[in-house]
């Protein structure tokens, strides 16, 4: 095992056997697949890659415009079929979703302000208007139609990153 320096300047382990590792699938739970498709497909412009229905279970994967190999899997799995789930777990999953505590996605874009206006005009709930952040991005945030947090950010040039204030006025 060797170590390599990543762009953040920290070292990451490099395991030769895992050199081809890439993320190809992330999961977004929904209890209203059509509403979620309205957001990820129609508003965000992701392309539907796979759409599978098996009884009540529906699994739709979507790829972002710049990442045809990364599938965002919108699914409503709460048990059934060959993989059961307790009623308590299904309820807990839906409660966490309703409370906005289940999951989040963060997208990178070139123009956060244009994206913000576009997504807001779709009627999505606004969590945060675009703002320059001390952690180096300009970002904004929404809820998707069922309660998952979705953030958009763009990198800020170094001279636009707000300082983290650490000292009283002098």
């Amino acid at each position: 095992m060797t170590t390599t320096e990543n762009t953040a300047g920290t070292t990451a382990a490099s395991v030769p056997a895992m050199a081809s590792l890439a993320v190809v699938n992330v999961f977004v739970f929904t209890n209203d697949t059509e509403a979620s498709l309205g957001f990820y497909r129609d508003t965000l412009g992701c392309a539907v890659h796979t759409d599978v229905t098996n009884g009540d279970f529906r699994w739709v994967t979507l790829t972002p415009p710049t990442q045809p190999d990364l599938q965002i899997t919108v699914h409503n799995y709460t048990g059934g079929g060959s993989i059961p789930m307790s009623d308590g777990d299904a309820d807990a999953l839906n409660d966490l979703l309703a409370k906005g505590l289940l999951a989040a996605l963060i997208f990178k874009v070139d123009d956060v302000d244009a994206v913000f206006e576009h997504v807001r005009s779709s009627g999505a709930e606004v969590l945060q208007e675009p703002a320059d952040q001390f952690y180096g991005v300009r970002d904004c945030a929404f809820r998707d139609p069922v309660g998952n947090m979705v953030r958009f950010n763009q990198d800020l040039p170094a001279d636009r990153v707000p300082a983290w204030p650490t000292d009283a006025a002098e």
Binding site: N94, D95, A98, K99, G100, E125, V126, L127, Q128, Q133, F134, Y135, G136, R143, G147, W164, P165, T166, D167, A168, A169, E170
Partner: protein, 129 residues
């Protein structure tokens, strides 16, 4: 709890996080959530672990700490984050942070230099103990 209620409670919490600097109060938030004030307060605490008033004040004081570190006066920071009473702002600040806003503003915060921003935000988030 009914799931529709949970959605409205989440929307109330999101509104506090987004609009904390506006003149929000709990009866107004309860009306927006289509609940009586008492039911709203109890349900919010059950869902999120804090009363809506505590959630609002913690959000405001978290922002006030940032403004004070940047050199803003205590009175201006109080108003900037949506508090109209300097007295209740100061007592809540002291309860959460462990020192008065003026003492917090007066001392150095150099210990945070070099801490990554996202971590500094977490470690400086005030918590009720």
């Amino acid at each position: 709890m009914e799931r529709d209620d949970l959605v409205r409670l989440r929307q109330a919490r999101d509104r506090i996080d987004r609009d904390y600097a506006e003149p929000l109060d709990v009866p107004m938030l309860a009306r927006e959530a289509h609940m009586s004030t008492g039911h709203f307060q109890r349900s919010f605490k059950t869902a999120f672990g804090e009363t809506p008033y505590a959630w609002l004040m913690t959000r405001r004081i978290e922002r006030a700490m940032w403004l004070l570190r940047g050199g803003m006066s205590v009175t201006d920071a109080c108003m900037e984050v949506g508090c109209t009473s300097l007295g209740s702002f100061s007592s809540r600040f002291t309860e959460l942070v462990g020192e008065t806003p003026s003492a917090y503003a007066a001392r150095s915060h150099e210990s945070l230099v070099g801490v990554p921003g996202c971590i500094a935000k977490q470690v400086t988030r005030p918590r009720r103990t």
